[in-house]
């Protein structure tokens, strides 16, 4: 079974734990600009959007630490390999 990321920005609480964790996982310090995931805030409306960089490694650490279910993983059947 493989894990796939499910994104539900409506559940995002804006905590940015995903991006903080991403930046320290792939770098030596906390830096939101170097994270592969970004939380864009419309704090007047309490709405948040989630954007991934094309450099994202796909480790899904962000979903592991997301407290709200805005980012989560589901198990999916392995994709058949090409030619099979």
């Amino acid at each position: 079974m493989a894990k796939e990321l499910v994104i539900n920005p409506q559940r995002c609480i804006g905590c940015t734990t995903c991006a903080l964790t991403c930046s320290i996982t792939y770098g030596e310090d906390f830096n939101l600009n170097r994270a592969f995931v970004q939380i864009l805030k419309d704090d007047r409306k309490g709405l948040f959007s989630i954007a991934f960089s094309s450099a994202c490694k796909g480790c899904k650490k962000c979903a592991e630490v997301c407290p709200s279910g805005a980012l989560r993983t589901i198990e999916v059947a392995d994709k058949p390999k090409e030619g099979q």
């Binding site: 609480i13 804006g14 320290i24 030596e28 906390f30 805030k41 309490g46 407290p67």
Partner: protein, 639 residues
């Protein structure tokens, strides 16, 4: 530096000069950050007796060292100055995103001195720090001003600490708002900012926070996250937020109903209780790094305020406007919250001021002619009008803008209706209806009558009867929680009666105050699931791995005690006396008239005995309330 940005920004508005100060390692180790830094700076730099609204007052913001990392709930910033409301150490804590932006911009804190010639705002964008003309912002409400600042710089992510019209007009309980919906609210620091002609400090940072021992640090963060989630309070708190407290105080008959004239409001639970939360809110909103999201996004769906949307149906305004003013409709409480946020006023003192005026109307001391409108209990339009009048200092509002203590002295026959301790309006609940660590904390709190600096981390709101009234409060959780509680064994034995049946209130108050001083000095949140689970051991582990500077759990809790004592020294220097540790006379003399706590008054002698026991536990002289030489030496506070 690791954890710390390593610099403080020192701004003098009188000379329009900016200095960067390198953080001193010895001071950082001794006072940690946040509240600790504020106390150290203000105690060292302010002369006693200064006018809190004069240019000589200093306003300090210090961000917790843990902010900017992924430590759960690490978002908090402490703001402090000499309070124009209490004349003592004014201090207040807030979360949201301002602190992390400041850390990422490269600063642990901002020190604001002097007074600008004309309305000004300060922009901090990484290393760029500018004084900007605030003329177009002056007079604007906080929400409008944030929009304008963001438009000025074409950056919707700029975080803004700012004052509204109340701060500009030197209302003594004006807040500093933190973005649209959060605030440094208590003790009137918005008026200090207003007196300096400073409308806002806008911040944007793109830098880094460094970590000393990454692997060990991340393991401590995981441990912290697991601990918070394992709290028995976690699920309910995420679901209902602080509105959880609407139940117990109703059941105890300890509501602050009608300006503390009754502890019992018959329709409370159906109209203003926790079951109302889902009618307004379906989702949580958090501060940076929060894994609880106690704030709820609230939407008013019907009635005159339909369409109003904002962060947070929070319990404090529900008690202030819902109970103290007896306004039944929670959508009005949401509206009053919005009005206070826009005008920049502390919701507790503002609600208390409206309730104070309502009681004066009830007693015939204030009339419709004085006010210009009707103001019976539960009045909606009059309450909202009065809030605006206070912020703009119009009519009776100008008197109320001085705070209920001063207004009580000014208006003949009104003093008995001012519900303050040490000049600060009391929030939340009536000590006649429930005595606890929290209640004693209303008296011992260094900022006055307030509920946020002395909280028993294992308070059990199921119980209200104690074996030794005034001395103990019932614990009643299972022993596992007692055993897990992060507290040195000797302290635990001293505070809890075996087998953890009761808690000694005075000793727990000391522990809780030192612990909360640490939270406010490290930048983590005091919400119950954290307070219960994150003690000195975990804090020391997080601090050591983040900064690389070794600290033991014992040294950690002692730092909390040091920081509490330093604030006390500030207050003593301003003349604080034992006689100020007193509730409004009503609590000792007038029995609660109805409900489960009907007939109860406070026993003055037993309150005084609880205070004696507290001062003794603190190593303070019960007569002067001051720490002795031995205590000061032990804490490294005597040079």
């Amino acid at each position: 530096m690791n954890g710390y940005a390593g610099k403080l920004l020192d701004i003098d508005l009188s000379t329009a000069t900016i200095q960067e100060k390198i953080l001193d390692e010895q001071l950082a180790r001794k006072y940690l950050s946040g509240l600790g830094f504020n106390a150290e700076i203000l105690y060292r730099e302010l002369q006693p007796g200064i006018d809190p609204l004069g240019p000589e007052n200093i306003l300090v913001f210090n961000v917790g060292v843990m902010v900017g990392t992924n430590i759960p709930t690490a978002s908090r910033i402490e703001a402090s100055a000499k309070s124009p409301l209490t004349g003592r150490f004014g201090t207040t804590n807030s979360g949201n995103y301002w602190g992390s932006e400041l850390k990422f911009a490269g600063y642990d804190g901002v020190i604001v001195r002097g007074r600008a010639e004309k309305p000004t705002y300060v922009l901090i964008r990484d290393e760029e720090v500018k004084f900007l003309d605030g003329g177009h912002l002056w007079g604007k409400d906080c929400w409008e001003a944030i929009d304008l600042i963001r438009a000025d710089h074409r950056d919707p992510e700029i975080q803004v600490a700012l004052i509204g019209p109340a701060g500009e007009n030197l209302v003594r309980f004006a807040s500093i708002e933190n973005g649209y919906y959060d605030a440094w609210a208590r003790t009137g620091l918005g008026a200090v900012m207003g007196s300096k002609n400073l409308k806002a400090i806008a911040v944007r940072g793109t830098g880094s926070v460094k970590v000393a021992h990454k692997r060990e640090f991340l393991s401590a963060v995981d441990e912290t996250r697991r601990a918070i989630v394992s709290s028995p309070f976690f699920g309910a708190f995420s679901k209902f937020g602080s509105m959880l407290a609407t139940g117990p105080y109703h059941e105890f008959g300890a509501l602050p109903g009608r300006n503390f004239q009754t502890g019992y409001l018959p329709t409370w639970w159906e109209t203003r209780g926790r079951p109302q939360v889902p009618k307004f809110s379906k989702r949580g909103v958090g501060c940076i790094a929060c894994n609880i999201a106690c704030a709820h996004w609230a939407e008013v769906k019907e009635g005159p305020f339909a369409g109003l949307k904002m962060k947070d149906l929070e319990v404090t305004p529900v008690f202030a406007f819902g109970a103290q003013c007896d306004i039944e409709d929670l959508s009005v409480v949401v509206k009053a919250t919005e009005v206070c946020q826009r005008l920049g006023m502390d919701l507790v003192s503002a609600g208390s001021s409206v309730a104070f005026a309502m009681e004066l109307v009830q007693r015939g001391i204030l009339t419709r002619d004085d006010l210009g409108f009707e103001l019976p209990w539960g009045e909606v339009e009059g309450s909202l009008q009065l809030l605006e009048d206070i912020a703009l200092r119009k009519g009776v509002g100008a008197v109320l803008a001085e705070g209920t203590g001063r207004a009580g002295e000014k208006i003949a026959g009104a003093m008995d209706c001012a519900m303050t301790v040490k000049g600060l309006e009391i929030p939340m609940y009536d000590p006649r209806g429930r005595w606890s660590t929290w209640t004693l904390g209303f008296l011992t709190n260094l900022r006055g009558g307030d509920h946020l600096r002395s909280r028993n981390p294992v308070e059990n709101l199921k119980y209200n009867e104690n074996i030794e009234p005034y001395r103990t409060e019932k614990f009643g959780f299972d022993l596992k929680l007692y055993e897990q509680l992060d507290m040195p064994a000797a302290v635990k034995e001293d505070i809890f009666t075996a087998p953890a049946g009761e808690v000694n209130v005075a000793k727990m108050a000391k522990w809780a105050e030192d612990l909360l001083a640490l939270y406010n000095s490290l930048g983590i949140c005091i919400r119950p699931p954290v307070l219960q689970q994150v003690g000195p051991t975990l804090m020391a582990k997080l601090y050591t791995t983040l900064t690389g500077w070794e600290i033991t759990p014992e040294e950690m809790i002692q730092a909390g005690e040091r920081i509490w004592n330093l604030q006390k020294l500030f207050n003593l220097r301003e003349g604080e006396a034992r006689s100020e540790h007193v509730f409004p006379e009503r609590f000792y003399r007038v029995p609660l008239p109805e409900g489960p706590a009907a007939g109860r008054v406070l026993d003055r002698e037993r309150v005084e005995a609880a205070l004696d026991e507290y001062f003794q536990a603190r190593g303070w002289d019960p007569a002067t309330t001051g720490p002795g030489t031995e205590k000061l030496q032990e804490l490294g506070l005597r040079q």
